[in-house]
Symmetry: C2
Subunit: 197 residues, 2 copies
């Protein structure tokens, strides 16, 4: 395989990138200066070398523990359990959560061969053992697998009777139009409707 073919194949292995897009990316980089390609290659190698899961919460970090786990102003009594690091990024950008995270690194998905042993649930367990946890928010996605993962976590948390367990509310997106909301969400929004008075 030629060098260009190898690069196209590597690009095409990325999610959401088909063969045509992979070709476009490779040809685009060829048109740029060599430095652009070397910069991307270098960035990849640096990440491969330096970034690993935080010992505390599992999100990617260049240190032993991430900045959130090290931040003494973060409330260690509230844990937010998410599937992926991208969820942490979203929550941090919104700036709405001041507790700490547990990043599972995926969701239960038997069809993809992802069972409990693939998820970083031991981090959650360790935090609970250490004590001081008042609430665990199950912030897995609202997909089928995300819900299954939340149910499974809920069972795991059953022995910790003094710990509050919650789930992110599901309903209409704020600013969203009823017309574009699917039936399942609408059903949930109706069932879980909030009393105004």
């Amino acid at each position: 395989m030629s060098a260009l073919e190898t690069l196209i194949t590597e690009f095409a292995r990325l999610p959401g990138i088909g063969r045509k897009t992979a070709q476009r990316l490779a040809y685009h980089l060829l048109q740029q200066s060599r430095d652009r390609m070397t910069a991307l290659a270098g960035a990849l190698e640096t990440v491969a070398e330096r970034v690993h899961p935080c010992e505390g919460c599992g999100q990617p970090t260049e240190d032993g523990t991430c900045t959130i786990c090290r931040d003494p102003r973060r409330d260690a009594s509230i844990l937010c359990v998410v599937e992926e690091p991208s969820a942490v990024a979203v929550l941090e950008r919104a700036g709405v959560f001041r507790g700490r995270y547990i990043v599972l690194g995926g969701r239960l998905s038997p069809l993809d061969g992802i069972g409990p042993e693939s998820l970083r649930v031991e981090l959650l367990d360790r935090r609970l053992q250490e004590g001081g946890v008042v609430e665990v928010i199950l912030a897995t996605n609202s997909s089928m697998e995300g819900e299954a993962t939340a149910t499974w976590l809920q069972q795991l948390l059953a022995p910790w009777t003094e710990v509050r367990v919650s789930r992110l509310a599901r309903g209409l997106p704020v600013g969203g139009d009823l017309e574009y909301v699917d039936g399942v969400t609408l059903n949930h929004a109706l069932t879980a409707r909030e009393a105004l008075r």
Copy 2:
């Protein structure tokens, strides 16, 4: 900037990849084994090191001249001038052209600061000087810039009165539905209609 941020920024500089997609790609690679990242990095570096424009036609190659230019079975009397190497890939996949190529490496686009000096028109000139060229097919895209580039090339070719100059036909895509064809294409398809009898 953290290693991960640098990688996301580099991904986001690629065409058609926004910040969100760049994040998704970076997080995806983090979830894979380190080897996947190193493989992509390696592929990029190999291309940056080894691939350069063919001395004959300008398309990317790892040798001095590309396999098409070296192939004695290719008809050197017909040149097909394209904007990008991707066009060569498309034509080769279709297997419909047995001549040789000139890859300009872009199109005239004054707004993007791409003038005649940015295009590899000297390769076309050299081929014409060497003699034996019977026809030049202007296969630049059917976009505004592509058409302008074709017009400009036509002027450049004016002195070569014995060389036939042609342009790829424009019209309905084969198998295409009239309903989905834009007005300009439809107008051209009507004006350039092919007599059946």
